[in-house]
């Protein structure tokens, strides 16, 4: 028996059933992570630091890395402040990585769907099909003031707008059929213009003519990630998301959220099997449970207040975390986890070097990427083109 695989770690589903993403935002999920030794906080915006983190996640064959973003400076005075544009970060990391998905958070409240569409399409092109879009929206006046606007009325207003934006962006991705480029020398035509489509979108907030200036991305549509807890968010996820991030502290709560997402997908006329539900899990890891607790105390001590998380939080050993993951997945409560390392410089390595091998040896997690695109990794089919279907 390998030291990594405890007896009670067994696989009820194959190694394709478990999905693991990791969040590479800031110095980690804990606000004081940047203050710990080894955090490389002075190099927070240094691209070599990010390249190394992606290489680690890729070594663990994780599904994707994700970057948060926003238009206003983080208000937390003692935390990390400042961020790079997440879409450009994802693009910068694409050429020197392989297999791993790159999830960029892009706002819908203050951006143009036309620009969002071609940005994500381009990340997908430069990564040969590894891009994903985490749909964001904002209700704060600080972000609106940056654009000289009034903030949305409320969350429902912002979510409606996000819904419209996601709809237009998807149509723009489809506005080029896959085989639109023909290079027909005899007739002098580079494209078959019958395979390029005006989207003619006339929504409440947007009117977009199209087609996109960028050919259809390799994945057809890069996966859409939605963070969903409230009803409106879950409805949005049911309509638009390929991957849904939920918060849950218990297995039962996770199962319940997953059911809600599946119901929302069904209500939107979709097959729930096309929607992957991941639970955010905050992790503080060490080889001994007591050492993990000491690490958390240190973080709390630096911060001066207790760490408030809003989802499953694991402070303990990698083996115990592997067991929890196995238990939740085997129970059919989740499709996987979105890992939020408390401190990227410590917890990501431990997750990849200790938790992942345990899951692999138990036959629960892949040891190689199944294909080249993020959709391949997620086990999601490449979507049909709505316009091709319409003309066929």
């Amino acid at each position: 028996m390998s030291p990594h695989a405890p007896n009670n770690l067994t696989a009820l589903h194959g190694p394709t059933a478990l999905h693991l993403g990791v969040d590479l935002t800031d110095a980690g999920a804990h606000p004081a992570a940047w203050r710990t030794s080894g955090s490389q906080a002075a190099r927070l915006f240094d691209v070599d630091r990010l390249v190394a983190l992606v290489a680690t996640a890729q070594r663990g064959r994780l599904d994707f890395v994700a970057f948060d973003d926003g238009f206003s400076l983080q208000p937390h005075e003692r935390g990390v402040r400042g961020r790079l544009d997440a879409a450009l970060v994802a693009s910068r990391l694409a050429p020197r990585s392989a297999g791993i998905g790159l999830v960029a958070t892009v706002d819908t409240t203050h951006t143009e769907p036309f620009h969002v569409s071609k940005a994500l399409a381009t990340i997908d092109h430069v990564s040969s099909g590894r891009a994903a879009w985490q749909v964001a929206w904002s209700t704060e006046q600080a972000a609106a003031s940056a654009f000289g606007r009034k903030a949305p009325r409320d969350a429902a207003d912002a979510i409606e707008q996000a819904d419209e934006a996601a709809d237009v962006v998807g149509r723009l991705w489809d506005s080029w059929e896959d085989d639109a480029e023909i290079r027909d020398v005899a007739t002098g035509r580079f494209v078959d213009r019958d395979k390029l489509h005006h989207v003619d979108y006339e929504g409440i907030r947007f009117a977009v003519k199209g087609p996109s200036i960028t050919p259809r991305p390799p994945q057809g549509r890069p996966p859409v990630v939605v963070r969903a807890d409230e009803d409106g968010e879950i409805e949005l996820a049911g309509r638009r998301a390929d991957v849904v991030r939920v918060h849950a502290r218990t297995l039962e709560e996770a199962r319940d959220k997953r059911t809600q997402v599946h119901d929302a997908a069904r209500a939107a006329g979709r097959d729930p099997r096309d929607v992957i539900v991941l639970v955010d899990v905050f992790v503080v890891l060490a080889q001994q449970e007591a050492a993990a607790e000491s690490r958390l105390w240190l973080l709390q001590d630096l911060e001066g207040v207790e760490w408030q998380t809003d989802s499953l939080t694991h402070v303990g050993t990698p083996a115990a975390l592997a067991e929890t993951v196995a238990q939740w997945v085997n129970a059919g409560a989740v499709d996987g986890f979105h890992v939020r390392p408390a401190s990227l410089s410590t917890d990501l390595d431990l997750f990849v070097d200790e938790v992942v091998p345990a899951l692999q040896e138990a036959g629960l997690f892949r040891t190689e990427y199944p294909g080249s695109t993020l959709r391949d990794t997620l086990g999601l089919h490449r979507p049909a083109n709505v316009y091709a279907a319409a003309t066929a």
Binding site: W34, R35, A42, S72, A121, G188, F206, I213
Partner: protein, 456 residues
């Protein structure tokens, strides 16, 4: 006195009929490998920068997508960010419209690109603003011609204020004090103007260049004044010697008004190069390339833009159409920069030319759309490029290939070394940023010097 140094950029083959896509060795216009090839070859040759153009609506002709040229391209800034991963020194210049974007978002993106590339970002400011393109954006937002540069100026002012709102050393990461940012090093911005409102504390660290290098491409008097007031580089269309000199004098002459030295703005026309072992061989290659660029269908479509009517019944290898142009049909093609007000004098002139030379439609179009460019042996072309620069017809060139991605390999391999031998072009990069390559001061330094220059 040291020789004036030439600045050279490469332009990725564009969405227009300069780019020949019909050849067997014409590669993908969208695969990253094509972009990577050109950028890396240009960096091996120590060029100043790689350049991408932009168009925010697919062009249409006679109410349908124009399908005769390359169609489709990646998004400018994500593509440049990806190129930053596979190159180390070459500048990364992207065309981004000031009408259909907001400065807060753009300033973040350019600061990010500058950080991610170690100081190699450049922004080519364009102002195209027609309602046709506006249909792809919220509120159909577009601007009357006259207001484009007013908005562009305000967009740049706000972007600069945002870049300047972070000190270079704002990230202190002082763990003991619990201060990630040095107190006072990031200041709020509060701008309320005719075209832009932007208020708040900016999110993104300042890039190594302080501000990305600013290019401007626009030719009107307003455009030239905007360049003289604002830009570090002008991307021009004036690629012949005489037109180049006139443009160069005009734009450099405007700098003094803004308290700027003649060196602080580089003028770089777009140009093409066709090489051969002999001058005759090069001329023959150039002739073949021009025929590839102007296919029979392209020739007819070009005439239709001027005539304003359908001319597909005419044979491109035959004489000019005998019908008269439709004076009201002049916007048959949309999404192009060119505008013809009254087609009748143009048609009359073309008929005379075609009659005098016995030209077919296709030959006429080849002739009237020729933009010059350098044709000859590598030694001849190197001589000419150097002459243009030494005699102030330009400060260098943006090289536009006709083939993706190998179209400039021969120029980089043979012409550039000859320019290096003459001492007119660098053999190694002397700095790490695009400002270093172009000999442009950091904006803080430039501004520190400005009062002295004005006083003098």
């Amino acid at each position: 006195m040291a020789r004036k140094q030439i600045h050279l950029g490469v332009h990725f083959p564009g969405v227009n009929n300069t780019t020949v896509w019909t050849e067997p060795d014409s590669g993908s216009q969208i695969d990253f490998a094509s972009f990577e090839h050109l950028a890396r070859r240009a960096e091996d040759a120590k060029l100043d920068f790689f350049f991408l153009a932009e168009g925010l609506r697919l062009r249409e002709h006679k109410g349908a997508i124009h399908d005769l040229d390359v169609v489709g391209r990646p998004d400018t800034l994500p593509l440049l960010a990806a190129l930053a991963a596979v190159t180390d020194r070459i500048g990364l210049a992207g065309t981004i419209n000031t009408t259909f974007n907001e400065p807060w978002d753009l300033a973040r993106q350019f600061a990010t690109l500058d950080v991610l590339s170690g100081g190699r970002a450049a922004w080519n400011l364009v102002t195209s603003s027609d309602a046709f393109t506006g249909e792809n954006f919220r509120r159909g937002g577009y601007l009357p011609y006259a207001e484009r540069y007013a908005r562009a100026g305000e967009v740049v002012d706000v972007a600069r204020a945002l870049w300047d709102s972070w000190d270079d050393d704002a990230v202190a990461a002082d763990a003991d004090a619990g201060q990630f940012l040095r107190p006072g090093s990031v200041r709020p911005v509060d701008h309320h103007g005719a075209h832009v409102d932007a208020e708040g504390t900016f999110t993104t660290p300042r890039g190594p260049q302080g501000h990305p290098v600013l290019f401007q491409a626009g030719d009107s008097a307003d455009g030239r004044d905007f360049a003289a007031a604002t830009a570090d580089v002008v991307f021009s269309m004036h690629s012949t010697f005489d037109a180049g000199r006139t443009f160069y004098d005009d734009v450099k002459g405007r700098l003094a008004t803004y308290g700027r030295s003649r060196d602080s703005l580089k003028i770089l026309p777009a140009t093409t190069v066709v090489l051969g072992d002999t001058a005759d061989e090069a001329a023959e290659r150039a002739r073949i390339i021009r025929r590839q660029q102007v296919s029979p269908q392209t020739a007819i479509a070009f005439l239709e833009q001027v005539w304003g009517v359908d001319l597909t019944a005419y044979d491109a290898e035959g004489p000019l159409p005998d019908v008269e142009p439709d004076v009201d049909g002049a916007n048959i093609t949309r999404g192009r920069v060119r505008h013809i007000k009254d087609p009748r004098p143009v048609v009359a002139q073309w008929r005379e030319l075609a009659a005098a030379h016995g030209w077919s439609i296709r030959e006429l179009v080849i002739q009237v759309t020729s933009r010059g460019g350098f044709v000859g042996t590598a030694a001849q072309v190197a001589d000419e490029i150097d002459r243009y620069v030494q005699e102030d017809a330009s400060d260098g060139f943006i090289l536009v290939p006709h083939l993706t991605p190998h179209g400039l390999d021969d120029v980089l391999d043979t012409v550039v070394p000859l320019l290096q031998e003459r001492g007119s072009f660098r053999t190694e990069y002397s700095g790490t940023t695009l400002r270093d390559h172009l000999g442009l001061a950091h904006p803080d330094l430039a501004r520190g010097l400005r009062p002295a220059a004005v006083a003098g």
